[in-house]
């Protein structure tokens, strides 16, 4: 690991003004790993731990989660389990118990891709070294994206939590040298296009302070299904976060996002629209899920994700909708 200056943030303003070539550290589970791999090498680490971005509160508008709350705390919060089950389930299917005790909510949303070429500091990678090329497009790409792929990058976004939060139309609160602002989580993540090194709508010195999840008719009837190569402690091949607003067996409204398949957490409003006003059953789910992969781009090894993600959506909808 390269040497760095370590500093504990005295205040949000102090952290925000730490200067260029600074990385904020909270749980450290992704950052320390990447620094050991020499994939990132900031000159300065600023520990956000003492800052006050904490608390899990529920009010009439929705759920407010401090960015420094640990994944495990949020996953097991009874209000989250009952009123926002998709968030709890996505968290519990992430990483391991140890990592969930360390990693923060804000840090989870900032985690980097698991693409093997990105994580191998000596391989070309447009995300790590802009302009160096993308070996994954013609190489090992079984785990890679079918949505949002460009000629520069096909790396998937690895967070389960982000998929659940995008489905529920969550908003991030950011604080930086220029003050505070809000950005929809879906817009916070950028498509790779020709600049895969630019992953987030975040400015110098900015940090995530809070995640806001609006309460809606569908938030309570929601769930997360994750399909992977092994039962636990593995990233998704495909996943689906679904939320349904049912009137009896009629679908009033729905929200759907998928993971393991997109260069960013991938929302599917077209599938949700196809469900509206229909009766909740497997045939309706299957017809709607057909829309999911419109515009998908298959690579040499990941074509299986096209059918797998549709089946993942149908099964998730069936489980959440109580359809056998």
């Amino acid at each position: 690991m390269r040497a760095f200056q370590f500093k504990t943030a005295a205040s949000p303003r102090d952290a925000a003004n730490s200067g260029t070539d600074t990385a904020f550290i909270a749980g450290g589970t992704n950052l320390i790993d990447l620094m050991k791999l020499d994939v990132v090498a900031p000159a300065r680490l600023v520990d956000l731990g003492p800052l006050s971005f904490r608390g899990i509160t529920v009010d009439g508008d929705g759920l407010h989660i401090g960015a420094l709350e640990k994944m495990a705390e949020v996953a097991e919060d009874p209000r989250v389990v009952k009123e926002y089950p998709v968030i709890s389930q996505a968290l519990l299917k992430s990483a391991s118990a140890q990592i969930r005790n360390m990693a923060t909510m804000g840090g989870n949303l900032m985690q980097r891709t698991r693409c093997g070429y990105f994580r191998d500091a000596v391989s070309p990678c447009n995300k790590r070294v802009p302009g160096s090329g993308c070996p994954a497009l013609e190489g090992e790409n079984r785990m890679h994206a079918i949505f949002g792929v460009s000629d520069s990058c096909c790396a998937t976004h690895p967070s389960d939590l982000a998929v659940a939060l995008v489905a529920l139309e969550s908003v991030l609160k950011l604080q930086g040298p220029q003050g505070v602002r809000e950005v929809k989580l879906e817009d916070f993540y950028l498509l790779p296009e020709n600049t895969p090194d630019r992953e987030h709508d975040i400015r110098q010195g900015e940090m995530i302070t809070e995640i806001f999840v609006p309460h809606n008719a569908w938030t309570g009837r929601s769930g997360y299904l994750k399909i992977r190569d092994r039962e636990s402690y593995e990233f998704a091949l495909t996943s689906a976060a679904v939320a349904l607003d049912l009137d009896g067996s009629t679908i009033r409204d729905a929200r759907i996002a998928v993971g393991g398949v997109g260069t960013k957490p991938w929302s599917l409003p077209v599938v949700a629209e196809a469900l509206k006003g229909k009766t909740a059953n497997r045939d309706v789910f299957a017809v709607a899920a057909e829309h999911a992969t419109e515009g998908a781009r298959m690579l040499s090894q990941n074509g299986f994700k096209v059918s797998l993600v549709k089946k993942t959506i149908v099964r998730a909808l069936s489980e959440v909708g109580g359809v056998a």
């Binding site: 690991m1 990385a23 320390i32 090498a41 990592i99 360390m102 992953e199």
Partner: protein
């Protein structure tokens, strides 16, 4: 739209390759000396004195200078001078000479380095020692009371919950956390919540049995 400068300083897009070449040149040599830095031996540091002066010239903040820290491990306060890169794992093993905590993958994938920090199981290989200050660290050495084993240790012995034993300290610390969290209601729940601890010998069935036995015993002791 953001400039490249802004990107290079954002939380995740930190690529100082382009901006700190002289510092990085020195550091690549240092990294070659010590891939997993546990504070190089005095001789090694002296040998690189020429590079050190280069680094000081190119980086006035001297990020490689040592930091005074206090760690509280198994109830005892320990004063250390560490490089900011030193992990809690390396500090405990190589500086405090408590080698019970094991280094497996050193990347947070295997769980061999699991310790408790403020009562919660965490990975010491992904924890910077400087960030563990002011917290209660418990390692495998801190579980037993003298010759009396902790119930989880005793259960691993009676259930034969290991073969080679390398993953065992991490398994036991993780099991203590798992039982404390209440995630022992079924075999499948134990397996799920212990999935961060790998065992290359495949002692999993006996590990699950040991955790069940210890959980029952510890519940009985509480009520």
């Amino acid at each position: 739209m953001h400039s490249r400068d802004e990107d290079s300083a954002s939380q995740s897009n930190s690529f100082p390759e382009e901006t700190h070449s002289s510092r990085r040149h020195f550091l690549s040599q240092l990294a070659a000396l010590s891939a997993s830095l546990t504070i190089a031996a005095p001789g090694a540091r002296a040998a690189s004195s020429k590079e050190r002066s280069n680094a000081e010239a190119s980086d006035p903040e001297r990020p490689e200078s040592l930091i005074d820290i206090v760690l509280k491990v198994n109830g005892q306060e320990k004063r250390l001078k560490v490089d900011s890169r030193v992990t809690l794992l390396d500090a405990v093993r190589d500086r405090l000479n408590m080698s019970g905590t094991k280094k497996g993958c050193d990347h947070g994938a295997c769980g061999a380095c699991t310790v408790l920090v403020d009562g919660k199981r965490v990975l010491s290989c992904l924890t910077l020692a400087v960030m563990a200050q002011g917290k209660e660290v418990t390692t495998i050495e801190g579980l037993a009371h003298g010759d009396e084993l902790h119930p989880v240790q005793a259960a691993f012995v009676t259930c034969d919950g290991f073969q080679c034993g390398y993953c065992t300290p991490g398994q036991i610390m993780s099991a203590v956390g798992c039982i404390g969290e209440g995630h022992t209601r079924s075999d499948s729940e134990i397996r799920e919540f212990m999935s961060g601890n790998l065992c290359r010998c495949g002692a999993y069935p006996n590990i699950v049995q040991a955790i069940k036995q210890a959980a029952t015993q510890m519940k009985g002791a509480v009520s």
